[in-house]
């Protein structure tokens, strides 16, 4: 029997009850959330019971207006057998952005989590090598958080003879 969004939702609700919430298919694929502490249990269940054995994508999103849920980690999982995609997200407060690492489940999560740490400062507990990957090690901020704006292109205080600014 091939898997449908309804059966996935039922099985998840049966297993985790209130812990999984906000099911929606508005964006084309089934998406849902759970508390950050549950992320490994949910993904292990999806992996073992529902065949979501492929981690397509892992990234962070920063919603500065969501109190105590400013940082969100979004997982895109894929079941190759039934060809179903799934979006699963967990939210954490920016003051304590702790999420359990998925590297034990997916080798591919290693660098994707490092990238998410690099840009959002999300602390993946248990990660084997959680350090910056694309930015320089000395960087002391997390550049994809909304509090770091891009440089104002109309600024005039910068003297740059070579490139004709200032």
């Amino acid at each position: 029997m091939s898997l449908t969004y309804t059966t996935i939702q039922e099985k998840l609700e049966e297993k985790f009850g209130e812990q999984v919430s906000l099911f929606s298919t508005d964006s084309g694929i089934l998406s849902f959330e759970s508390p950050a502490a549950q992320n490994l249990k949910v993904m292990q269940f999806l992996f073992d019971e529902l065949g979501f054995t492929f981690l397509t994508d892992l990234c962070g999103v920063n919603y500065p207006d969501q109190k105590d849920a400013e940082l969100v980690v979004v997982y895109h999982l894929h079941n190759f057998v039934d060809n179903i995609r799934l979006r699963y997200s967990v939210a954490v407060p920016v003051a304590q952005p702790d999420v359990f690492t998925a590297t034990k489940l997916f080798e591919s999560a290693n660098w994707m989590e490092r990238e998410t740490y690099d840009f959002f400062g999300i602390n993946f507990i248990g990660h084997p090598n959680l350090k910056r990957i694309l930015n320089v090690d000395e960087m002391d901020y997390f550049p994809l958080r909304k509090e770091f704006p891009l440089e104002d292109q109309t600024r005039i205080d910068k003297d740059d003879e070579m490139f004709g600014r200032g």
Binding site: D26, S27, G28, I29, T53, F54, L55, T56, D57, C59, V61, N62, V74, H76, F80, N83, R85, R87, F106, E107, S108, N110, W111, M112, E115, F119, I133, L134, N135, P143, L144, L150
Partner: protein
């Protein structure tokens, strides 16, 4: 003056029996900006530490302040061996997000361009594998056919490498007759060249011995490492976004997905070659379908989306409505709908995904690129450990790593 200190050697470094070798970041054999600090025992690789990010350009941050059409040139610079696929992938993401239906003719024209891009991508990768195993001829010989592909791009969009081809809804202009003539020339001449290229390598004893059994990976490991594209298919998993989640009317065409068994360098080479044959067949089918449009249908090259598709210049000068749309698009005054989408296309080296989050503003709230080679390059230490250093070089090129895409 600062006092000079003697070099402090790490503990145990005198007794150790392995050699540390720094390969890259700029090395002729890495074909891109990749650094590997390897521990080698004689010529055997014991371990390696990768570092990436040397050409990181903060595309995801930049995209947060750009309108949709301004993000297309950014996508050019991901996998620059097949920029049109990235461009189209981005347009398709936007169209899915904005619920724009594209006309069939646009879909087929896109398929032609995307498959040409796939051929040029695979051609580079496979011929570079040849170069790294000591056969320069193939590389030099096929270059003129990549040139032909670039001439077709040029005819369609005006540029060659970073193409910025197409718009949301279709193409910026209709294909000229010259473009079709060049396409026909390519379809006539290229199969013979590809056959010769295959003859040069596929059963070549030296090539086989260099590539068979090196850099191999099992299907299960490849999936766990997030492999996609030809690298995953070489390991025996028949996952192809064009079939699994069709876009741009790929479901109308008939093609097969070549798979390998061992996931080694040789299988990756064979899978790419077989895919090029499939691409030729796809282009032929799509071209036939394009030719079957008659009358006004044969003139359609974009969907009717005034909010996102720039009007023609003469309309802008002579027509109030077109002028307004032109202004609104250029100034970026169009609010996006709220929501999020993940949309993927089969890029030259794997599943190229775009995760777009919009909060209803004029620019994406967040845009994440799923870059296939960023994800599968993690497996590189596992692929090369225990093998020869010279095989590590071949493995690197047969993975089709593109620094621009990896570092985003």
């Amino acid at each position: 003056m600062e006092a000079h200190h003697n070099i402090v050697l790490p503990e145990g470094s005198i007794e150790k029996t392995t050699t540390t070798l720094n390969l890259g970041p700029t090395h002729p054999a890495t074909h891109g900006v990749f650094q590997n600090i390897m521990e080698i025992d004689g010529e055997r690789v014991v371990s390696t530490e990768q570092s990436v990010g040397f050409i990181h350009r903060a595309f995801e941050k930049l995209a947060e302040r750009r309108n949709l059409y301004q993000i297309t040139p950014i996508t050019d610079r991901l996998n620059y061996c097949s920029s049109p696929i990235n461009n189209m992938g981005w347009h398709i993401t936007c169209e899915r997000f904005l619920k724009v239906e594209t006309p069939k003719r646009v879909d087929y024209l896109r398929i032609i361009i995307m498959e040409l891009a796939r051929i040029s991508d695979h051609l580079i990768c496979n011929s570079i594998v040849g170069v790294d195993t000591g056969a320069y001829t193939g590389f030099l010989y096929v270059m003129q056919y990549r040139e032909l592909i670039y001439e077709i791009y040029e005819e369609v969009c005006g540029s060659r490498l970073t193409t910025n081809i197409g718009r949301i809804g279709g193409f910026e202009r209709n294909f000229t007759n010259t473009a079709f003539t060049k396409l026909e020339k390519f379809l006539n001449e290229y199969p013979k060249v590809l056959q010769e290229f295959e003859n040069l390598f596929t059963r070549n004893r030296i090539f086989m011995e260099r590539t068979q059994g090196t850099g191999g990976i099992s299907a299960a490991r490849a999936m766990n490492y997030g492999f996609t594209g030809p690298n995953l298919r070489a390991a025996g998993v028949d996952y192809d976004v064009r079939v699994a989640h069709p876009y741009s009317s790929y479901q109308d065409l008939d093609f097969s997905i070549p798979v390998g068994t061992t996931g080694d360098n040789y299988d990756r080479f064979l899978v790419r070659n077989a895919e090029m044959w499939q691409s030729i067949s796809i282009i032929k089918q799509a071209y036939e379908k394009v030719q079957s449009f008659k009358g006004t249908e044969a003139e359609i090259f974009h969907a009717d989306v005034p909010e996102y598709y720039l009007p023609k210049k003469e309309d802008v000068y002579n027509n109030m409505e077109a002028l307004i749309w032109h202004f609104k698009i250029i100034m970026g005054e169009i609010d996006l709908p709220k929501g999020q989408i993940y949309s993927a296309v089969e890029g030259g080296n794997g599943e190229l995904g775009f995760y777009l989050v919009s909060d209803g503003g004029r620019t994406p709230f967040r845009l994440h690129f799923r870059r296939p080679c960023f994800i599968y390059y993690q497996a590189y230490p596992e692929l090369i450990t225990g093998g020869m250093l010279s095989d590590a070089v071949v493995t690197m090129s047969s993975l089709n790593l593109i620094a621009g895409e990896l570092d985003a």
